[in-house]
Every structure is written in C-alpha cells, then in structure tokens.
Symmetry: C2
Subunit: 232 residues, 2 copies
DNA sequence: GAAATAAGTCATCAATTGATTACTTCGCAA
DNA sequence: TTGCGAAGTAATCAATTGATGACTTATTTC
C-alpha cells in the first residue's frame, strides 16, 4: 500500500513528502519533513473525519510512510492528536493579536466563516477543537483555547480594558453581575462562530454553506454590535 | 455483564426494562418494551458519546439484554441510529407547531438552550443531529431536520407568509436576493442555537454552560430582533 | 571506506466490535 | 398439559485498528 522507501513497489497514494514543495526534495530521509507531513495529514483527517474515524494507517498512507513512524514521532494516537491540536492556528486570525474593535471583529469573523476562507471543504481549524479524543487533558486544551478566544472577543467589547487586567475588582454584586453578563454575551458570539462552522461543514445547510464574506458581513456586524456594544 | 433473563447471575447494571417506570414491570418478555428501552439507551449514548464511541454491547448492557436483540429489532447499528434520530423530538418545541413570532421565538430558544432545560448533562436532541453516522441517507435526514427548522425560524421573521407558500414568485433578481438574505439570517440564528448547544456540552465553557433561561433571554431577544426584524 | 546512528519497514499481536447462527426459555392458546 | 412461536441468550467469526519489537537501509562522521 503505497510504500515508497525501500521495499516499495508502485505508489497508489499521494506522497506529501516528495511533492514539489518549496525547496524541492533534497533528502529521502528527512525526519523533520516526515514528521511535519504526518502532522499535516493527521490534521486534515482529524478535522474532516473526527478522532475515531481517523486511522493511523490512513494517515501513514497519506504520507507514504510506515505506520510505525507515527509511534516513533508522536508515541501514540493521542500524542498525534495533541500535536495536531497544538499546531492548529488560533481561531480567527491565524497570526497576530486580535483587533480590539467591534467593526474589525465583525470583519474578521465574516471572513473566517465565509466560503472561500479555507481551501478544502470544511477544514476549518475550529472543527478540530470539537473533535472528541477521550483524553481529559486534551479536553482541557480545547476548553482553554475557546476560553482564550472568548476573552479576546470580550476585549473587543471594551477596548479600555487591557488583557493583563481582565477582571477589575467588583465594587458590588451588581457590578460583578454586569461583568458576567458581558462575558456571557462574548461567549454567545463565540458560539455563533462555532455553530456556523459546524452547520456549514457537518450539515451543509444552504445558503449558509456557500455564503461569501460579503454575504455574512452585514448580519454579523449587526449581531456583533448588539451583543458587544456598551449598554445603558 | 448484567444479564437478567435466563442464565443470569447478579446484576451490576441498571436494567431499564424492569425499573419502576409508569405501569411497573408487567412482563419479563415484552418485545415492545425492550425495543423502546434499547432505543432510549441508544439515544442517550449516541448523544453523549457520538456514533463511533457508542458500542452495541454497551447499549445492550444498559438495558440488561443480549446484543443480538439489537439486530433483531433494528437490524444493524445504522438502523439503530436512524431509529434514534427519528425518535428524537424536533429542535425547539418538542411538541406542536412553532410560534411564528419573534418574541416567542426568543423565549423558546432561551428556554431550550438554558441550563435546566434538559435533565441529564448535555443530552440535548440537537446534538444527536450532529453526530456522524457514515451513511449518506442519515446525513440527508439530518440536513432535512435542520432545514425544516430554518424554515420555521424564517416564518417567525415574517408572519404574513404561510407555510404552504414559502417562496413567493420573485419579481426580479433583487427580490430573490432579499429572500436569500432572509434565509441566511434565519440560518445564522439556527447556527447560534447549534453553537450554544455544542459549546455548552462539548466544551463546557463558563458562564455559558450554567446560564439560566433568564440569563439568556435578554441577549437572545436582541439577536433575534436584529436578525429577523423586517428591514425597510 | 567502514562503523555508528538515525530513518524507515515488516510482520504480528491483542483488543475491540459489529455481525450472525444455533440454541434455550418463556408465555400463551387450544 | 402440551406444544408452538416469539423473546432472549451464548458462543463465535471476521474485520479493523492501535501498538510494538526485530529487522533493513540510508546517511553521516571520522
């Protein structure tokens, strides 16, 4: 089945390592490149198929490499999943800090959730966060990632607040309650993003599935405003 | 393994059939009751664990019955999943028609998505819709269910439209575009509902996870209004 | 050019799991 | 009571899949 190294016969599967990437193929035995290729293939399968339906054999076959190398580089399937999760860019802006501004947030959201943002059908990173792994520590990683993002969204609702001081000392219970309500609203926005990704990929609901960034920006801006605008 | 019938020894698992439900235990061999108990157990596991991690052995053990009975009553795992999907109440109002009114919609949503709405932690029916099955026909069922719900939400945005005439003949392209935009907005609301359910169950994000109906009704009403209010 | 080491393969094990068949027991009707 | 059919069980098969250790080949280093 698509062995390529020593005893191989004929390939019947794409070999990601020798595909003409940047730099071309210099060495046939490159641990770092192989590790990276495995990570890429695993990420794609985890996102597309979920944890359970992703088999290590398939991942290895994608790269054109033997199953045992996964154990060598990632020790186990859990390790592979954790590595894929760690290698996944943060939710909206894959690079840099999130702009603490409602308009920019709406823009970023609509772009991230639009049809053309990701090449392969439904390979959005947020979906990886939702895949089950069965490991409690992985679940904790996932929770942390979404919590961080909620915090970022919350900042967008109040640019005066810095990140180092997320919870100003509440004067009384009503102030604490207001703070909690603001966080709840930020999380509702996160939930909307997650829901859009899920509905688009897992269900394929039209017209949402093929909505472009321009289609989404209008409604999303209104929702962002109504959820995050400072009130009273 | 919690056998209960003939060769059984001691129970170590809850037996759903003889548990003192309504009517008590009248017969030890009741095909309909057994079938129903299997369906219940399967539904719970499918929702909680997803399709792959739900094993037929566990489902049978929940009921205290032999694995082979699942084949007898549902023919296969796919059949069991389809039956569970069919037996799942429709998304928001488990009974009756959906009220075509924005305020009532916001109310229903906040209640459905609140912490106390469903007894067991994260057994919300909408989660069952998102579980993978691998069967194209099941995926089609799922898509259909969510599409129906989107249609209902769309009605709430325009009470004048009847259900029998969902798409009035468009006079020109701009009218068709407006119609498409309205459907998109309805689906965004559906996505919000799905996202809240997913985030609450799969991630357990606080404070959303423990939010009560009263916590949700305010923000949700605003979102429903901004998404569904008739615009010029 | 020959050790030494890293990269990769092969064959196989053990556990899980869906499916299936032959057998056993219970309940009800005549 | 008896006997027949439905309800249920036990045992097992075959396929998949994660894990693993011994073996093989390429690359580097002296």
């Amino acid at each position: 089945m698509a062995t390529r190294g020593n005893g191989g016969s004929a390939d019947d599967t794409a070999d990601a390592r020798t595909a003409g990437g940047p730099e071309g193929d210099r060495r046939r035995r490159d641990a770092a490149a192989t590790r990276q290729a495995l990570l890429q293939a695993a990420r794609g399968r985890f996102i597309r198929l979920g944890y359970d339906r992703t088999t290590l054999r398939d991942v290895a076959a994608d790269v054109g490499v033997n199953l045992a190398l996964i154990k060598r580089y990632f020790d186990s399937k859990e390790g592979l999943f954790k590595a894929a999760l760690a290698a996944t860019p943060r939710f909206p802006g894959s690079e840099g800090e999130f702009p603490p501004d409602r308009a920019a947030l709406a823009e970023a959201l609509s772009h991230q959730l639009s049809a053309g943002a990701w090449p392969d059908f439904s390979e959005h990173p947020v979906l990886l966060l939702l895949r089950v792994s069965g490991d409690e520590r992985v679940d904790s990683l996932r929770r942390q990632a979404l919590q961080d993002f909620s915090r970022q969204v919350l900042e967008a609702s109040d640019p005066s607040r810095t990140r180092d001081d997320p919870t100003p000392a509440p004067d009384d219970t009503s102030r604490a309650q207001a703070e909690r309500d603001r966080l709840l609203r930020a999380e509702l926005l996160v939930a909307l993003g997650v829901g859009v990704a899920v509905v688009r990929s897992a269900v394929g609901l039209q017209p949402l599935r093929d909505a472009t960034s321009d289609d989404l920006i209008g409604p999303l801006r209104e929702v962002v405003d109504v959820l995050l605008a400072p009130r009273h």
